[in-house]
């Protein structure tokens, strides 16, 4: 992480070809999930856990652990030192625009966009490289993507399940990858030629082996919105300290789980 920050600081405010460039683009979006998706990449690697592994829904000391505090402080430090002006509420599209216009040296974004970036005439090809979320105490990446669900009261449940069976087939998943989609199927990613199949394939392979997800709870939305508020208040709006932000988050999440009867 320190190397990431040093690289960002190197580029921050530097004039290259007559244009001022900035170090890094990271997620800061307030309205939906953006800043949470960005912050958790740091928190995980500094030792953040959602709960006590031995005692479900016991959050205190895990969500606001000293490591988690350090991770949140690091994200804020990176935001303050090394991002472009105006990126206080920025997510995927703003990152792509900033990177493709040559405004930032590095960007955080989802793998889904990397085929397009690689093909970009200005920043793609030989000019672009891809790397996994750097390790600190441990190494994880935040899980993205869309799941497939079958609606329990649908009249076409059988058809939906047939579609999933078809889509999950090895040759279909392979074709999907070739066409620019992403597959986490072992039959695709464990193939010997997979790392060479695309310039971002090695980073994707590594990332998929270390993904960590947000809460998988029915109250997902409430938990996410609480975290959006607390981390944006601290990182962007300079409200309180990292410890205070995470302590308040513990309080918010406990309230949600209590209402859920957990």
């Amino acid at each position: 992480m320190d190397e990431l920050k040093q690289t960002a600081e190197f580029f921050q405010g530097r004039k290259i070809d007559g244009k001022t460039v900035y170090g890094v683009y990271i997620f800061t979006e307030r309205g939906s999930e953006g800043i949470t998706m960005g912050v958790t990449n740091m928190l995980y690697n500094y030792g953040f856990e959602y709960q006590d592994p031995k005692k479900p829904y016991h959050l205190d000391g895990y969500v606001n652990s000293p490591g988690a505090v350090k991770g949140l402080e690091f994200y804020k430090a990176l935001y303050k030192c090394c991002t472009a002006p105006g990126m206080t509420n920025a997510y995927m599209q703003e990152g792509l625009d900033a990177f493709k216009s040559g405004q930032v040296a590095m960007q955080m974004n989802w793998f889904a966009f990397f085929p397009g970036l690689y093909k970009d005439p200005n920043v793609g090809g030989e000019k672009i490289g891809f790397f996994v979320n750097p390790k600190e105490i441990q190494q994880f990446t935040q899980l993205g993507g869309q799941g497939i669900s079958v609606v329990s009261y649908s009249d076409h449940k059988a058809d939906a399940l047939e579609y999933i069976k078809w889509f999950a087939q090895a040759d279909v998943q392979k074709k999907w990858w070739q066409l620019g989609g992403y597959s986490a199927a072992k039959s695709v990613v464990d193939a010997p030629d997979f790392p060479k199949s695309a310039p971002f394939a090695p980073a994707f392979l590594k990332s998929m082996s270390i993904v960590k997800d947000f809460w998988a709870e029915p109250a997902y939305a409430a938990l996410l919105l609480d975290m959006q508020k607390r981390v944006h208040d601290y990182v962007v709006a300079d409200k309180g300290s990292a410890k205070e932000a995470l302590d308040l988050l513990v309080k918010d999440w406990n309230k949600v789980f209590k209402a859920e009867g957990k």
């Binding site: 002006p85 105006g86 509420n89 409430a222 508020k229 601290y234 709006a237 300079d238 209402a259």
Partner: protein, 317 residues
């Protein structure tokens, strides 16, 4: 031999028309008036009154509309207690109150614009149309293009401020800096809705009969005296009405704030309507958000009632 006869027979047609006419003639004017406004009343009941009563009922439950199969449990006044003891809700109320105070206060400048527009001068129609333009745009469009204008690197606003003040354009962010973001919302709202206040005040100015000013001139009243004794008192009810409308609108302001800042940075521009939307349509806390909506309704209704009483007193003077 068949004879061509109208069907129904003329006599029957005449008797039918006469019976319908008699039925209508039998109705009082009041009844006919009620018949005409009945569709509107039914619509108002269906989309205003019924939802209000239903929301009131839901506010005493823990209902979540994304889980309709889970039966709602009666929680008494727990939702109301939670809301009234929640620091974040009080903070959002303060944000909203500050926004309403400053934006409505500045929109009173519309009265000054009305005074200017009330005179005849060259290009009067052109300038009137230009002043009215912001009001004709949709809040969604306004929010979007001001977001672009306010970008510190690519937007025009920072460059214009830099031109006049010498402050480097990249050194401040109107929607990203904590002290500036609330004022940015006020500025954009004032820009958009001052013409509305101007229009209402203009209607008031145009309703003042000329003979009153003529009489004042005969009495050798100065322009300031005429303004203070004639113009202001007679336009005050209109200005107060404009303030009432804008106050109610700004209290529930959502679209522009959501587009410009999404309530950020942090929560410094999170108005209570944004909090309500998040609780209702993102967290799906239908019972809780119904309680919040009822509280807001009571606040606005109460404040509007007090204000209208004051307005009526001014009108009577």
């Amino acid at each position: 031999m068949l004879v061509d006869k109208p069907f129904p027979p003329e006599g029957l047609q005449a008797r039918t028309r006469s019976r319908a006419g008699a039925r209508l003639r039998g109705l009082s004017d009041r009844t006919i008036a009620w018949l005409f406004i009945l569709p509107t009343i039914v619509l108002l009941l269906a989309i205003n009154i019924f939802p209000l009563i239903w929301a009131l009922r839901l506010s005493f439950t823990n209902f979540k509309s994304n889980m309709p199969s889970v039966p709602a449990r009666n929680v008494g006044i727990d939702n109301y207690t939670d809301i009234l003891t929640d620091e974040d809700i009080w903070y959002a109320m303060q944000v909203t109150a500050r926004f309403v105070f400053w934006s409505v206060g500045l929109e009173v400048l519309g009265f000054g614009l009305a005074l200017l527009i009330n005179r005849q001068f060259r290009g009067h129609s052109f300038w009137t149309t230009l002043i009215l333009l912001p009001m004709m745009l949709s809040p969604a469009v306004v929010g979007n293009f001001w977001t672009f204008l306010l970008q510190p690197q690519t937007g025009l606003f920072n460059d214009i401020v830099s031109f006049f003040t010498g402050i480097p354009p990249n050194s401040f962010q109107m929607i990203g800096d904590v002290p500036l973001a609330p004022w940015t919302i006020v500025m954009v709202d004032t820009w958009m809705w001052t013409p509305y206040v101007m229009l209402i005040c203009l209607a008031g100015l145009r309703s003042i009969p000329d003979y009153i000013y003529e009489a004042a001139e005969v009495d050798r009243a100065s322009p300031w005296r005429q303004f203070w004794s004639i113009t202001l008192p007679m336009t005050l009810p209109f200005l107060m009405l404009a303030i009432l409308f804008r106050g109610i609108e700004n209290f529930k302001m959502f679209d522009m704030v959501n587009l410009l800042t999404s309530g950020g940075p942090g929560s410094v521009t999170e108005t209570v309507s944004i909090t309500l939307k998040r609780a209702a349509f993102e967290k799906w806390q239908t019972g809780y958000s119904s309680a919040l909506a009822i509280i807001l309704f009571v606040v606005v209704f109460g404040a509007a009632n007090i204000y209208v009483k004051a307005l009526n007193r001014v009108k009577q003077r």
